[in-house]
Amino acid sequence: MSSSIFSKHKWADKHIPKNFKIMLIISTILLIVCILASLFFGARIISFPEVIDGLFSRNDSYGANVVRKRVSRTIFSLLCGGALGVAGALMQAVTRNPLADPSILGVNTGAALFVICGIAFFNIHTANQYIWFALIGAALTATLVFGVGSMGKGGATPIKLVLAGAATSAALSSLTMAIQIPNAYAMDQFRFWQLGSVGSATWNAIATFLPFLVIGILVAFFTAPALNALALGDDVATGLGVRPMFLRLVAALGGVILCGAATAVAGPIGFIGLLSTHVVRLILGSDLRFNIPMSAIAGGIILTFADVVGRLVSSPGELEVGVVTAFIGAPILIILAKNSKVRSL
């Protein structure tokens, strides 16, 4: 049954986009720069010998410990950014909509609402437990938003989906407010989670997150060729042997798993999916087999970069990474809206 989706077809040829190699080289360099910046910069700028110490020896100096903390943080921000980048690419392909991003579609808020419900009513308090609540919340919200946004003729147009997402976000965040206000304990826990950003990353959190990341990436890997066909329209895709509804379901589930898990561990981080996919599409064109892995790399770079910026602008404290990404990402949304033709809205 699934072989019809996953098998190779004529349209899944091996043509490599012409900028792919250059982009791979540039993004590798950027990735290394971001990783180094993330290790060196922060409330305290660490010297080179200390970084070496922290990475390779068992030295127990202050600097070395800081570096070790920053290593887990950097790895986590790379993974999390990658997950959000892939989630954005999957959702955009599923909805055939350039504006689909977990935060714009309100999926983050849904995950947040379920986490606060879990804290307030089910007494959960570890990342392991948050992740399931966040996943259920993300999945339900995605279903609701797609449902509302695709009503009526024309299906899920970008503007309808974005509005449905914004409205659902508003609705869910007033519910979140109503639950946390009378419940001081939940409010404390929730605020910690909400502000957690990537700074709270521990090896445990990474271990919790990793299986979901792997599942999501496998889904993306296997559905990418078929999603390429879907981009040509449902009829053409059916003619090429793809079952559109089943494919959408699988790919959307992958996207929800990725962004739900990322949200559960890192708190709501917006606009990464939007930013990375659009940068990548601008350079590589629209072949998802190359766009999805590149979006993952771009997402990792952007999130790590935003995290470093957040550490530097408000030193000695830290600005939440979600604030930085919103500040970089929102103008992209405006530019996209400005340049889009009225028809496509």
Binding site: L163, A170, L319, F327, K341
Partner: protein, 345 residues
């Protein structure tokens, strides 16, 4: 000839019928507002008999009652009444001019613009309250203008305007988070006032600018209301009926932004009131009539009723913004579904 006059009579009775309905609705809404105002004064931790409250209002000093009524309940009631009125009317104006119920100051990011400027003035520049209010008004206007320019494509599209608004709002909210993060602890309570709607702790001294603004701008808006009706018929129709469309529209928008900014400075943005008031008023009175006054009254009733619910319906006291959010959000989603089904987007 006879047929013609019959038709004229038919139209005329139609107008009369609608005018009667308008009057009836307005009177009923006013009575409801008076009842709610009365309950705001009577109810509280201690319920005072109505005679005592009246005597206190007339200037008598009664131990305990005077303090509760004059210092706590009266400012709260007046703030709710006037801000509700202002939000209702401003929202109605936006919805009517842009001919879309979704176009309201909250969705378009105007409230966020005002709030960002206010928070900047409070936390960074430490200006006086007057400067804060002026800055927030200017910022609201700047947000409107920049949104207008950013969403100007080949042709005007409400969808694009809303998308740009959502983008602007995300950026401004990120800016607010950043400002709150870097600001000293003692400035935060004053800044938080601008972020969530609440009538708690309203003082008599806060009210004069709001009352003056309402009495200054409402007559202007009511006078222009006749033109607004013609604007609803469409650009060309309105100008052929002798309306200076651009000037009218600008005056109305500017007045609405003034009302919103000043009302927000007293109570903070009370969620969804500016969004709900217009459609409710239109439903009650019927479209095709200038529903400015009913919309304002609906807004006032909403805020007062929501505040009473927030204060007394639950074990815990919720700020008014949470209640209006819980009431408004489902309606927003419902409205979206209906608009999608009718293909109005």
């Amino acid at each position: 000839m006879k047929n013609q006059s019959g038709e004229f009579n038919f139209i005329y009775t139609g107008i009369q019928k609608r005018r009667r309905r308008w009057l009836l609705v307005t009177v009923l809404l006013t009575i409801l507002a008076i009842i709610l105002c009365g309950s705001m004064l009577l109810l509280g931790n201690t319920i005072y008999p109505i005679q005592e409250v009246i005597r206190v209002l007339l200037g008598e000093q009664i131990q305990g009652v005077s303090f509760a009524v004059n210092i706590i309940r009266l400012p709260r009631m007046l703030a709710g009444l006037f801000t509700g009125f202002a939000f209702g009317i401003a929202g109605y104006i936006f919805q009517t001019i842009l001919r879309n119920p979704l176009a309201n100051p909250n969705v378009l990011g105007i409230t966020s613009g005002s709030s960002a400027a206010a928070v900047l003035c409070i936390t960074v520049f430490h200006t006086s309250n007057t400067v804060v209010s002026i800055a927030s008004i200017i910022a609201g206007l700047v947000t409107v203008v920049s949104m207008y320019f950013l969403s100007r494509g080949q042709s005007f599209s409400i969808g694009r305007l809303i998308l740009v608004g959502i983008g602007l709002q995300a950026m401004l909210d990120a800016l607010i988070s950043y400002l709150l993060y870097i600001s000293p602890q003692q400035d935060i309570p004053a800044a938080l006032r601008w972020l969530s709607g609440s009538l708690n702790g309203t003082k008599m001294d806060d009210l004069p600018p709001l009352v003056i603004a309402v009495f200054l701008f409402i007559p202007i808006i009511l006078l222009l209301g006749k033109h607004l009706n013609m604007l609803e018929l469409g650009e060309q129709m309105a100008s052929s009926l002798g309306v200076a469309t651009n000037k009218t529209r600008m005056l109305l928008i500017v007045s609405s932004v003034f009302l919103i900014a000043i009302a927000t400075s007293v109570t903070g943005p009370i969620a969804f009131v500016s969004f709900l008031a217009g459609p409710i008023a239109n439903r009650l009175v019927g479209v095709g009539f200038s529903n400015i006054l009913p919309a304002g009254l609906v807004g006032a009733n909403l805020v007062l009723a929501a505040d009473l619910i927030g204060q007394f319906a639950f074990e815990y006291r919720f700020p008014v913004g949470v209640i209006t959010g819980l009431l408004g959000a489902p309606y927003l989603i419902f409205l979206l579904m209906r608009m999608n089904q009718k293909g109005e987007l």
